[in-house]
């Protein structure tokens, strides 16, 4: 090939790199054969303790749910997994239609007019929602409920900083864990772009006073965070006046994988669609009048609008959107609702068993929950965590750092993946530890 292009050596291909910036190869070990590499990596990873060897009661944004085997069959199809963003729609209908179906499932679950084809995760979706609320409603501040995950809060702060938006925290009712309406009222001034809260929130409680919240936020932008699996049972935010809905669809067909990738849900009302970040797939027809799908409203995006774009996002989480669509198609409405109910029942059963133990209160808040709840104990939560670990159990997320006011508390999560034996093991361990 060198001959064909009239060059003598590979060196000549790099002659345009000036001498003063050249490097001489890479100081990295030599390559490995697949057989050696796999056994080395198996050894290296064997020290991790996955859910297959240790019961795990963590949630806090990443969840261990059942994934039907057929999801893997579908997302492993080469034609899907090795394709790029569908810039040429005629040859990419498979992914485009799948993304449209993902948007459709999410629009149905959230009852929003439009859901984009994905953001990176829920935390960045929140960051983008703060920016979008600012584009819709102006103002130099944005209110955020205190009951969101510390991870999300940190990410939202980074996004808000770029637009010089101040994030102001709204407290929660110490008895119910729901939004403190009086605090919201006092902070929701003219200069706030809007308000963000979650249901169920980070500490588990499901919000019931939507009407009062909507009324207080008035004409400003109401952003709501959801667990889309809980929406199988709960009234959707689109029916409760939300302007923007965010969440994470990792619960549908994507493994925990140390928290990434996951898939940010981002939905809004049609009125605001031109202010929305991210790719949107629309339905249309081809030359022969056949139903077809393509990326649309692209004049919002970075490759067209550059510095005036609604967001810089380009690569998103398309394959996970496919996984979510496949997952929801496979479980269907019946399976989804059944699974969601199992979560609530498991949560109720586990929290009442822990609550019945001497020295423990569970759930901490007097509200309805989905699959997470706060456990407060006489013993310090760090000590409980360590003692559980010694018994090969990963307990809940220790809240002392992010929520010092809840001293000696942890956030527990239980899903349909936990067996009665897992619960027994945890309850017996807690009883022994206290």
């Amino acid at each position: 090939m060198l001959q064909a292009i009239k060059l003598k050596s590979v060196r000549e291909l790099f002659e345009d790199i000036p001498k003063e910036v050249r490097t001489d190869g890479l100081r990295l070990p030599d390559g490995m054969s697949e057989i050696d590499l796999r056994s080395e990596l198996e050894r290296m990873m064997a020290v991790n303790r996955p859910t297959t060897v240790m019961p795990n009661f963590l949630g806090a944004g990443i969840y261990n749910h059942f994934i039907p085997s057929a999801v893997k069959t579908i997302v492993s199809r080469s034609e899907f997994i090795t394709s790029y963003t569908p810039y040429q729609p005629e040859i990419s209908q498979g992914m485009l239609q799948s993304l449209f179906e993902y948007q459709s499932f999410m629009a149905e679950l959230t009852a929003m007019d439009v859901v984009n084809s994905s953001m990176y995760d829920a935390s960045t979706a929140l960051g983008e929602a703060v920016l979008m609320a600012h584009r819709i409603s102006g103002g130099d501040r944005f209110l955020i409920s205190r009951t969101i995950s510390p991870e999300k809060k940190e990410v939202a702060k980074t996004y808000a900083k770029g637009a010089d938006i101040k994030l102001v925290e709204v407290g929660y009712d110490s008895a119910t864990g729901q939004v403190d309406l009086a605090d919201l009222k006092s902070k929701m001034g003219d200069t706030s772009a809007g308000f963000y809260f979650e249901s169920p929130n980070f500490l588990g409680p499901i919000e019931t006073r939507w009407e009062e919240i909507r009324r207080t936020v008035g004409a400003k932008t109401l952003v709501v965070g959801v667990n889309p699996m809980a929406l199988a049972l709960l009234k959707p935010p689109g029916e409760m006046g939300a302007d923007i809905v965010i969440g994470d669809a990792q619960v549908f067909g994507t493994s925990m994988s140390l928290g990434g990738p996951t898939i940010g849900i981002f939905g809004c009302k049609t009125d605001h669609v031109r202010k929305m970040p991210g790719r949107i797939i629309g339905m249309t027809t081809d030359l022969e009048g056949r139903t077809s799908f393509c990326m649309t409203l692209q004049t919002r995006e970075q490759h067209i609008r550059r510095s005036k774009a609604t967001s810089n996002i380009c690569t998103n989480e398309a394959l996970l959107a496919l996984a979510a669509a496949a997952h929801l198609s496979l479980v269907g409405r019946s399976g989804l609702r059944e699974m969601a109910k199992r979560n609530v029942e498991n949560m109720r059963s586990l929290s009442s068993r822990i609550g019945a133990l001497k020295g423990f209160t569970a759930p901490r808040f007097n509200a309805s929950h989905f699959n997470e709840f706060v456990v407060t104990s006489k013993t310090g939560s760090e000590k409980i965590h360590k003692d559980l670990l010694a018994r090969n159990i990963q307990g809940g997320f220790v809240l002392d750092g992010a929520f010092p006011e809840l001293s000696r508390s942890s956030l527990y999560c239980t899903t349909e993946m936990h067996s009665k034996t897992d619960h027994d093991k945890l309850v017996a361990a807690l009883e022994a530890i206290r």
């Binding site: 910036v21 190869g25 899907f80 729609p89 005629e90 040859i91 992914m95 991870e151 629309g282 393509c294």
Partner: protein, 490 residues
Amino acid sequence: MRYHQAVHDVPVIFEGCEMPTQEAFDPTLGGLFPKEVVRSTLDIPDIPERDVVKHYVNLSQMNFGVDNGLYPLGSCTMKYNPKVCDEVASWPTVAQIHPLQDPSTIQGALRLMHELEKMLCEIGGVDAVTLQPAAGAQGEFTGIHIVRAYHEANGETRKEVVLPDTAHGTNPASAAMVGFDVLELPSKDGCVDVEALKSAVSKDTAAFMLTNPNTLGLFEKNVREIAGILHDAGALLYYDGANLNAIMGKTSPGKMDFDIVHFNLHKTFATPHGGGGPGAGPVGVKKMLEEYLPLPRIVEKDGVFSLDYDHPKSIGKVRAFFGNYSVLARAYTYIKMQGGKGLVSASENAVLNSNYLRHRLKDDFELPYAELRKHEFVLSGAPLKKKGLRTLDFAKRLLDYGFHAPTIYFPLIVDEAIMIEPTETESRETLDKFVEACETILKEDPKLLHDAPVNTARRRLDEAKAARDMIFSWRAFKKKSEAGSHKNGS
């Protein structure tokens, strides 16, 4: 011409599916929740597994990936993705772990990330790396936040980010998201106009963003001088790593005096792009910027890995947890498999393949600017205009021959741009077939190009209708057709 994409009749998954009856809904859910928050409808169909699998397998056959054939999408580095990487990412020890687990129970994962950081340091010529950003654009966002934090820590509020007009669209968008004004600099002979840069840079300049080789595939030879201009003005230099596949082991962003660099693991390090994502966009920096990296940092002491949050100057977090870990695991596996020498030869072959194609195709089109290119090159489809054709027509016709189209109409400074990046994983036979197809197309009746594609699952789409109708979901479609039939009936 032997290529024919499958054309299945696959209705939207909701279409024609009998919705389960709404009576199944118990308004109190047996008392699980208060009535006011219980859902009353949910139109999701119940479909047997057999039919769901058929639906998506048939859809997959109406999609084109690298595994199907050449995907010479410029600036996207669509190389073959070794399957062992997917295999590793699916192991329970990799996939079934939670990010908030006690660090003592995820030592293997932390080791993998720590080692990947070190590998990227070597490849990028930088001192520290964060793996947190979820994609290249988020890497830029992270890097530009570091720029802002750095200047603020020095008591400066610099307002402007400068970049060439050949920059990827994400560059200006990322800079704007971090609160900077963006100044786009016209190029000269396809490269940065050094004199124009000198006069544009001021005490207001926070950073200059550049990819090298640039989007034309040209190596910016004046990169050290450019760096000097920026550094003398107190500004930082940002490297967009989208084109890193051209230079591994030959030079590095650090060696070129860049201060901040992002890597696109889904390009250079062969992780599959998944039809749009996930990707991963780690960011590397020089020592003086390490304290600004996102948290937590993964630290090692005596073979034990832990999480370090104690960096008050950090920009905070750009994404929850550690980033796209299963993508990181794939890239780590790829790098281990290639080794240092393998990565260098990947770059050599990527550049060789690109120049081979450039040499074979330049006379069929026009090749503006210098001859020698790196991993990609940009032709102008302007000669097509004589036949009443455009680059778009040529690109669509390529689909009929079983090749994905190159990137088109970018960069903006080339008229009717055709941006081709073959990557190192394509054989000479494949490249020759591609050339043959291009040359055949150029001799074809222009009508065939106008009408193309015809061998794909769909013919050209009415994209204006999609924007006009705004049907983004099955819900919206149903609403619209109900409104339509109502109108027709009245």
